[in-house]
Symmetry: C2
Subunit: 239 residues, 2 copies
Amino acid sequence: MKQPLHEKIRADFEARILAGMLAPGDRLPTEQELMQEHGCSRMTVNKALSALQSAGLVERRKKAGSFVARPRFHSMVLDIPDLAVQLGERGQRHSYRLTRRQVRGPIAGRDKEAALANGAQLLELDGIHCADDRPLAVEHRLIATRAVPAIVDGDFDSISPGTWLLQHVPWTEAENRISAVGATRGEAALLGIVPGAPCLCVERHTWRGGDPITYVRQVFLADAYDMVARFGPSGSGGN
Amino acid sequence: MKQPLHEKIRADFEARILAGMLAPGDRLPTEQELMQEHGCSRMTVNKALSALQSAGLVERRKKAGSFVARPRFHSMVLDIPDLAVQLGERGQRHSYRLTRRQVRGPIAGRDKEAALANGAQLLELDGIHCADDRPLAVEHRLIATRAVPAIVDGDFDSISPGTWLLQHVPWTEAENRISAVGATRGEAALLGIVPGAPCLCVERHTWRGGDPITYVRQVFLADAYDMVARFGPSGSGGN
DNA sequence: ACCGATATAATGTCTATACATTAAATATCG
DNA sequence: CGATATTTAATGTATAGACATTATATCGGT
């Protein structure tokens, strides 16, 4: 036995639950029974059961006992990494070309821009992402200078503002909206497709501790970019 | 103080890390220092630090100490709930109409169908989802009868096979692929749009303990359905 | 300066115990 | 019978200590 005992107990129940041998609502042994079965102290089984609880697999009620939790809504881990990194993993070369850059105030009537600006100026950066010099996505980005004053001195002629922001101002809250859109005339020209052709659109707002950081809208060439999300048994937060 | 001490310590560091007061790589106090600072035992601070570790916020190395983890790639929790539930939350009425149903073997040459069938038959179910009787998405689904023998007796004339599967055969692994496509002629007719119009396409494979369960391709009317994913400070796996 | 053996500092695991908390079960009283 | 008080079984939290593990640091010898 190389793995610690509490981890063994935890993994054992996880396997049984995921295999369906234990159905939602089933009661599992009390801590007393488990410490006898494994010949260990209560703290050890408690650690195992607590881990299962925080992983959402079991529900524990005082006096009643521990039960297999009924599956809450399946949620899944979707990685939305930096485009440059993601392309690099595929062996493609990422490049970014800036097409527009200006500092301005929020446009009157656009509440979202006003909220993002938060009383200060916005930096507007438009550009295009390429993979191996072929157009991949057009990007429209607004950055709150209030949250990121250093941004106005950034050099984005070749490096992507997304990469810069990730490295300098990691966000703590985000909202992504994924939809299908027809390419506008301008987007189509940049991507080399016909207007109205279907494109994947990702809009993202990010915040840091409640303060808005950036809004970005990326329109991807269909067929060139899919979003893939995988989900599997949670990797145990091991030692 | 209502909350337990280990939870207070954990929340304290979480707040400081998320607020940026502690930068990645920063070292935080040793367990010894923390137990003096809070006047508690080592197990208590250990519990707090272990929780931070399993949440991915800190990294712990023996002899060296505990450090703020450098943000691994931001991953986010994307809820892909049952359509019926999601529409219900919006106050819309969900309905499903079956347009095709057959049991067949995998089509020769389609490796993915063969892998899904896993030596047995496939149940093919095509249908259309509506919100308040307006078309929302067309769905093409293949179900492995080997994994879900009971499915062949299911009545899907009005209830969605996705809902049925979620209730009867929760998956343990899944892969989602989100892309933008142009509606085919048949899809366009069902959705009431012109062929080629941009649609959001979600393809999903699910498994249960390594055995394939189902493949589904859903093509959504653009503008009617966005996928929204939010991410925020992880809700503490509370008591 | 280099390499190897040893010491050391930190986390990792576990025990045995104690008391608190809570919700279910049970008893009690009107 | 029904409402209320009490018991009790289970988890929740915490302590103080012990030993294991391991990466780092230090010391010696060549």
